[in-house]
């Protein structure tokens, strides 16, 4: 049986690369995907702990997260499409109308 540490390590690597993707990339779609990556990294560690503790709580939590993420994707993509329509690009650095 694969020790839980591996899962957690993989989860950490995925989360970190997701976070880096959010911070570094400027393409909104890529950032969006990176956010998904972070969510799923969290899902992975939840599932791993669920397995470890022989409890379904984590798995149920993951279902919720996946449902919420699906909804979020729908809203997020709609936003990106709308932004693209108004600005003709989706570079995050160009979206600064609320700058102080």
């Amino acid at each position: 049986m694969i020790p839980v540490t591996y899962y957690l390590a993989l989860s950490a690597i995925l989360f970190t690369s997701g976070a880096l993707g959010v911070l570094i990339r400027r393409n909104a779609l890529v950032v969006f995907m990176s956010v998904e990556l972070m969510l799923n990294a969290a899902n992975l560690s939840l599932v791993a702990f669920s397995r470890l503790h022989q409890s379904f709580n984590g798995q149920i939590f993951v279902f919720f997260i996946m449902a919420v993420a699906a909804a979020e994707v729908a809203v997020g993509l709609a936003l990106i499409v709308t932004i693209f329509r108004s600005k003709q690009n989706i570079d995050l650095d160009q979206i600064n109308s609320l700058k102080g």
């Binding site: 911070l23 650095d93 609320l98 102080g100």
Partner: protein
């Protein structure tokens, strides 16, 4: 004294309210009633007051101790209690009878006099006002004599002063000759202000009285006066001296007499009623009323008697040099008031009051006759051909008169009676009253006797001079030649007064002394000096000699038109002094009025304007205020408060600027912040998780 057992005593308040009703009717209905109605109402009001006074006298015949009638509360503060209380005793009723009796006759006379006066002066609507003032005077004078305390007396004292002011200035917009001028109103002001000096004395005495006696009621004060005199004699002396100041002002004695001659600016009935017969005797009444106080201080008596005597002589000398008919009578009044004041000052209260009464008769007679003469001259002037009307004509100047005995015979004989009474020839009223004063003086105050005898000589002389100049000789002006006799409404009251001037002396006939006995109920039994033929003979001889001298100078060779006074040559500078009233007015001008004006100008210009406005207000207050506000504005407001608030606002804007930089619009940097924040919080929680 407390109960009013007398029959008519409780009616005494009517003596005030009857004239008051007359005054109110004339105030509100005067213009509608017409001249006859106004005169009738006013005369009836005064006549009712006289009737009430007569009823009081009748009651006093049965109850000579008199009564005190309380009408209302007036002032109640702490232990000070002053009521509106009437005092009916032989002294106050004597004054009531004189005031209301002579007053009524003068009201009747004024109906005729003012009828012509308002026409000569072209202001007929002013007629009712005169009677309103005249009734007001009667109210005030009767308040003065009927009050039961010095405070009620003072109310009347001020009231008659006001009435006098209003009536002297009755023709306030012209001078005595009817030309537009401030002369009459200035005379009114002079009288009022001079009297104010005297009133100051009265008030000081009243304050001392309240301070030392705790009351101003006559009975309460007189009850304590002996006790105070024993312990603190200076109180009595100063109180009497302050009262003397009041007397000197109101009764026109040296040095405050100067207002009385100018008061002749009022219509003649006013001169007769207020400035000869009644108001000016208020001072004599005051001294007589205060006899328990005055008789305790020999010094005070000496001073009062001397002031009276000197005034008597001094005013008589001025009267010799006057040319105005009424001015001669005015100085004569001052002189006769001197006799009265000297009399009451010596303690001869009966003699002083007696002279007050007879003088009221014959001096009112003389003044009213003089008014008749002046109106006769006006009528004569009015009938002259038109061209002569525009010259300045003084109907009161004796140099314009002469020969009037032919044109005005009734007035002439009335004037003769008044003159003989004033000269003090037997058996006229003035002889008896003046003789009593001289007799008392010869016994107690010899210097007063000599001064008053000289004054009596001059009195007979200036009256003789007046008679020769006015009624004898030839007319020196066309107006005098055409003068006309006055109507009966004017001469009838004069006849009553003339009768009183003839028989008035018998009220206190030597040896019988009915008047002395009557007043003794109030004043206590007085020592009555034995009638002295020496004193009476000397004064009669002096009067006859003076008449002879006046005949020699003015009667034998009547004055011609434009001729200078025959006395001027033999007396020289002395006569110039008499003519110019010894320059007393000029002296006042120099010694009092000019320094006062200089002081006033100094106070107004230097102290008030230069010091107070220019320096204190502008420099100290305004500049100080500006300096202070500048201090508040510059260092405090700008330096401290503003700087603090600027610093605060700078702080806020700096903080917001630096914080604003965080809001840089880069979503990724927000994300980094969130990451850092999450890491920091989680790290903290992990490290501190026990």
């Amino acid at each position: 004294m407390e109960t009013t057992s007398g029959l008519f005593f409780s009616l005494v308040p009517l003596i005030i309210f009857a004239p008051l009703a007359g005054m109110l009717i004339n105030i509100f209905l005067g213009q509608k009633l017409g001249e006859k109605g106004v005169g009738l109402v006013a005369s009836l009001a005064a006549g009712t007051a006289f009737l009430v006074a007569v009823l009081q006298a009748i009651s006093l015949g049965q109850h000579p101790e008199g009564a005190v009638v309380r009408l209302a509360d007036w002032i109640h503060i702490g232990q000070l209690a002053i009521d509106w209380t009437f005092r009916v005793d032989t002294l106050s009723v004597t004054m009531m009878l004189v005031v209301s009796g002579v007053g009524t006759l003068i009201h009747i006379y004024a109906i005729g006099y003012m009828h012509e006066d308002v026409r000569f002066k072209n202001d007929i609507p002013r007629y009712p006002r005169f009677f309103v003032f005249l009734n007001f005077f009667i109210i005030a004078m009767l308040t003065l004599v009927s009050g039961n305390s010095y405070m009620m007396l003072f109310v009347g004292w001020e009231g008659v002063g006001l009435a006098s002011f209003l009536l002297i200035g009755f023709w306030y917009d012209m001078d005595t000759l009817g030309r537009p001028s401030f002369a009459n109103s200035n005379a009114a002001k002079k009288a009022f202000i001079t009297n104010r000096v005297g009133d100051f004395g009265f008030l000081m005495a009243a304050f001392m009285m309240f301070w030392k006696f705790g009351s101003t009621d006559f009975d309460l004060v007189f009850a304590k006066v002996a006790e105070v005199a024993a312990h603190e004699p200076w109180v009595i002396l100063w109180m009497t001296i302050f009262f003397l100041v009041g007397v000197v002002g109101k009764s026109a004695q040296i040095p405050l007499y100067i207002w009385l001659p100018d008061a002749m600016a009022g219509p003649t009935p006013v001169s007769a009623l207020i400035h000869a017969a009644t108001m000016v005797t208020a001072g004599v009444y005051l001294v007589t009323r205060s006899f328990p106080i005055f008789s305790l201080s020999h010094d005070a008596q000496y001073i009062v008697a001397t002031v009276g005597a000197v005034t008597g002589l001094f005013a008589a000398t001025i009267a010799v040099g006057q040319y105005d008919l009424k001015k001669v009578l005015a100085y004569s009044t001052i002189s006769q008031l001197g006799f009265m004041v000297a009399g009451v000052g010596m303690g001869a209260y009966v003699a002083g009051m007696f002279h007050l009464m007879t003088h009221a008769f014959f001096k009112a007679l003389l003044f009213l006759s003089a008014g008749s003469v002046i109106l006769g001259m006006e009528r004569g002037h009015h009938h002259l051909p038109h061209g002569d009307h525009h010259e300045v004509f003084d109907p009161g100047d004796m140099r314009n008169m002469g020969g009037l005995r032919k044109t005005m015979p009734v007035t002439f004989w009335l004037y003769i009676i008044g003159t003989l009474a004033l000269m003090g020839l037997p058996p006229f009223a003035g002889f008896f009253s003046k003789d009593e004063i001289l007799l008392d003086a010869s016994l107690h105050f010899p210097h007063v006797y000599w001064i008053l005898s000289a004054a009596a000589f001059l009195t007979a002389f200036y009256m003789g001079r007046q008679i020769w100049m006015v009624f004898f000789g030839e007319a020196r002006h066309a107006a005098a030649a055409h003068a006309e006799e006055s109507p009966l409404v004017m001469t009838a009251p004069l006849m009553v007064l003339a009768a009183l001037s003839v028989v008035g002396g018998f009220l206190n006939f030597p040896g019988l002394h009915q008047f002395g006995g009557w007043l003794a109920h109030t004043l206590g039994e007085m020592e009555i000096p034995e009638f002295s033929f020496a004193v009476a003979g000397v004064s009669t001889l002096l009067a006859l000699a003076a008449i002879g001298l006046s005949w020699a100078l003015y009667g034998r060779n009547p004055l011609k038109v434009g001729q200078i006074d025959p006395l001027k040559k033999p007396l020289g500078l002395l006569f110039t002094g008499m003519e110019n009233k010894w320059f007393v007015d000029e002296g006042y001008q120099l010694l009092v009025i000019q320094p006062y004006k200089t002081l006033a100008k100094f106070l107004a210009q230097t102290v008030d304007w230069d010091f107070w406005h220019e320096w204190f207000h502008d420099s100290v207050i305004a500049r100080g205020f500006v300096g202070f506000t500048r201090f508040l504005a510059d260092p405090i407001d700008l330096g401290l408060i503003d700087r603090v608030s600027y610093w605060l606002s700078d702080l806020v804007s700096a903080a917001s600027a630096s914080l604003g930089k965080l809001q840089n619009g880069f979503v990724r940097s927000y994300a980094l912040s969130i990451l850092v924040g999450v890491v920091a919080i989680l790290g903290y929680l992990l490290l501190n998780a026990k």
